[in-house]
């Protein structure tokens, strides 16, 4: 589904990603961990097509297409979804209008007719239930004045609405209370199938208790320096990153 080869990216002439290799297959859950500033969010931004970052080397293909060649909106329409670490507020734009536009753009890309008003409202209702999001939130402007946790829930709601093939969840768990964490994780699990894949970026094992990864990768200084099964996360939780840093520096 996603194949990343030797990906390098920089901002302001500072190289942040320094040769990423990663392959994600349908049905898999990958977890990326790593110390602050190691490049996790940069990787997700680059994959989503944020042109703040310049890709200087390497390739990424998504379902056989050259991902780096696609406009960000086309990457989204191809089924790539990013749950932002810091979701953006868009004052004045209602969640309903926003989602309606997004959903219909996806449909148009697939050659489907736009959703009728009643179909759309039903879809909203179903997905709201699925991710247990408060109706009040979807009646407001996009993320405007949302609490940190509410913003994260809203990301998962949008993911549910758009049913992506590959979802990248960038620290979706940070800022969530204990109940919300379970709700969000349940939402993600409900959306999981053998056709789609998830990349979770997190610092904590507690999310991985709910969303169980097939692989755990450690990103450090712009490279994936260690990959293993889910037990790696437990080991990191216990020992921290020092031993990996040491291994890497040696």
């Amino acid at each position: 589904m996603l194949v990343i080869k030797d990906l390098h990216a920089k901002i302001d002439n500072k190289e942040i990603l320094r040769g990423i290799n990663l392959e994600v297959k349908p049905g898999e859950v990958h977890c990326i961990m790593g110390p602050n500033g190691s490049g996790k969010s940069t990787l997700s931004s680059v994959l989503a097509g944020n042109d703040k970052f310049e890709v200087c080397e390497g390739s990424a293909t998504f379902n056989g297409k050259d991902l780096l060649d696609l406009a960000p909106e086309d990457r989204a329409r191809e089924g790539l979804f990013l749950s932002f670490q810091y979701p953006v507020e868009i004052p004045g734009v209602s969640m309903v209008n926003f989602m309606r536009t997004a959903v219909n753009e996806h449909r148009k890309y697939r050659g489907d007719e736009p959703c009728s008003a009643s179909e759309f409202l039903k879809l909203m209702r179903d997905k709201k239930k699925m991710v247990e999001i408060d109706s009040n939130l979807t009646n407001r402007s996009v993320n405007e004045g949302f609490s940190g946790g509410e913003k994260k829930k809203n990301e998962i709601f949008q993911m549910a609405m758009l049913e992506p093939k590959l979802a990248i969840l960038d620290e979706t768990d940070s800022g969530l209370d204990i109940d919300a964490l379970r709700v969000v994780a349940n939402g993600v699990n409900k959306l999981k199938s053998s056709d789609n894949a998830t990349i979770v970026i997190t610092h904590y094992q507690r999310l991985l208790d709910h969303i169980v990864p097939d692989f755990v990768h450690v990103l450090y200084k712009g490279r994936i320096v260690k990959s293993a099964g889910k037990e790696l996360a437990l080991e990191l939780e216990e020992k921290g990153y020092d031993w990996i840093k040491k291994e890497f520096e040696d």
Partner: protein
């Protein structure tokens, strides 16, 4: 609403002005230039009574003594008044019974514009008094209105049929001495609309007039007069588009509104004149004087405008709040792109006691355009407890455009409470990227954000107009980002 919005978004392709075409309707024009003779010819052609000719001549003589105004924040080339045709009427002005008799070319023009002169729109409850260039060609639904005693006709017709009403109110709100363009308009106005709502009558439908500049080099000088008698209500819509042109076209309209005791008038405009091409060539010059007087106690006037067109816009719909407890509201969206210049705003003149005014102005600037808000709030000595609240927001797209806010206050009564809030914001790259990541193109994202930003104003428009307005916003900002 969301569905319409998406339809709109879908429709938006290509960057050129959509309504730029020119239909070949026969025009009966008089020679270029302005003189006392031209004024007489215009009056004679319209078969006007003596008092009307006098009205025009007085204005013309006054205009000759005036000089072009100080152009505020605008950069305007000299206008050669001797190079303008001051009157054009479709030939053979016929008395028409039904749509079948209307010049098919004209019908086609209306259809290209999507103007609802057709049956469907009539069923939707909109009476249309279509003005093509200078003379009203067709008025629908007049009978229904007549049953309620409502007069809705062209101003030329009103001069013939209701001379007393016209004599009493024409020029009573905007006298010819008011400004340079008001004088010019009073001298040469060709046509426009007249509305009279009798005491206690609520007009059962939105009254709508579509203006359209259609003849090469013909300045357009409409004159609209709306009188709402005690306890009456009317909502009036004005919208316009113009064909693509190479020369600048002058437009100087006057709108006068009078409200009596407890009467309410809502006046909504969607203005979409040719703004000139990407380099600022061509385009309409729009100098409009719009003013309402709330004569009666507890009367109310609401101006709502969406301005996306014109090369140059100079326009300050105003309210004179004379009656005690009278209310004036002004909701405005002004969008400028490329080389457009807009200098708009409002004047709220508080004369009566307990008068209130509200100003909501939303400017959107893109390209190399300049967008200025200029608002005057004046509270006279006798206006006890006057209240005003002004909200002036500017949204910038890119960094080559300008937004300016000039609030003026003249307050000589210390019981007045006047508040002014202003904000300037930019559409952030992170907002655009967020929308991109959800599958929207940058252009659609900008459309969505801009429409969200102006929602407060658009919501004041009647439904079908709101849709049109959103479409215009989207079209006029095409190519302004990315």
């Amino acid at each position: 609403m969301a569905e319409d919005q998406n339809k709109i978004l879908d429709e938006v392709t290509g960057g050129e002005y959509k309504y730029g075409f020119h239909s070949d309707i026969d025009m009966e024009t008089i020679p270029k230039g302005l003189s006392e003779d031209v004024v007489r010819i215009i009056s004679a052609k319209k078969n006007e009574p003596e008092w009307m000719l006098e009205f025009r001549l007085k204005a013309y003589r006054h205009w000759q003594t005036m000089t072009t105004p100080d152009w505020a924040h605008l950069n305007i080339p000299e206008i050669d008044f001797q190079d303008i045709i001051f009157y054009a009427a479709p030939k053979k002005k016929p008395e028409l019974e039904s749509m079948d008799e209307v010049d098919p070319d004209l019908v086609a023009t209306f259809e290209k514009l999507g103007i609802p002169l057709d049956e469907q729109k009539v069923l939707a409850g909109v009476a249309v008094d279509a003005v093509i260039d200078s003379v009203s060609v067709k008025t629908t639904y007049k009978e229904t209105l007549a049953e309620k005693g409502i007069i809705f006709c062209s101003i030329s017709e009103a001069i013939q049929e209701f001379p007393d009403l016209v004599k009493k109110y024409l020029g009573s709100v905007v006298p010819h001495g008011d400004n340079y363009f008001a004088a010019l308009n009073a001298a040469v106005f060709s046509d426009g609309s007249f509305v009279y709502i009798p005491k206690g009558v609520r007009c059962p439908m939105e009254l709508s007039t579509y203006f359209r500049i259609n003849a090469i080099n013909t300045g357009q000088f409409e004159r609209t007069l709306i009188v709402a008698d005690d306890d009456s209500y009317v909502s009036y819509l004005e919208g316009c588009t113009a064909p693509m042109r190479d020369e600048n076209q002058l437009h100087a309209a006057i709108v006068e509104i009078v409200t009596m005791e407890r009467a309410e008038v809502k006046y909504s405009t969607v203005q979409n004149w040719y703004p000139g091409d990407k380099d600022g060539k061509g385009g309409i010059f729009n100098f409009v004087t719009k003013r309402a007087i709330c004569k009666g106690d507890y009367s109310k006037v609401m101006w709502t405008q969406v301005e996306t067109g014109s090369a140059v816009t100079w326009k300050y719909p105003s309210c004179v709040l004379q009656g005690d407890h009278s209310v004036g509201e002004f909701y405005s969206v002004a969008v400028t792109n490329n080389h457009q210049q807009a200098d708009t705003g409002t004047k709220m003149i508080h004369l009566g006691k307990n008068t209130r005014s509200l100003i909501v102005s939303k400017g959107v600037s893109a390209g190399k355009s300049q967008n200025s808000y200029r608002g005057l709030v004046k509270v006279a000595k006798k206006a006890e407890n006057a209240r005003n609240f002004s909200q002036c927001d500017s949204l910038l797209l890119g960094d080559q455009c300008g937004a300016h806010t000039f609030p003026y206050l003249e307050i000589v009564n210390n019981t007045a409470k006047v508040e002014h809030e202003a904000t300037t914001s930019k559409i952030g790259e992170d907002q655009i990227f967020y929308c991109n990541q959800r599958g929207m193109s940058t252009e659609d994202a900008v459309g969505l954000i801009v429409n969200g930003y102006v929602k407060e104003v658009i919501n004041q428009l009647p439904m079908e107009f709101a849709v049109e307005a959103q479409k215009l916003l989207q079209i006029s900002l095409e190519g302004s980002v990315g």
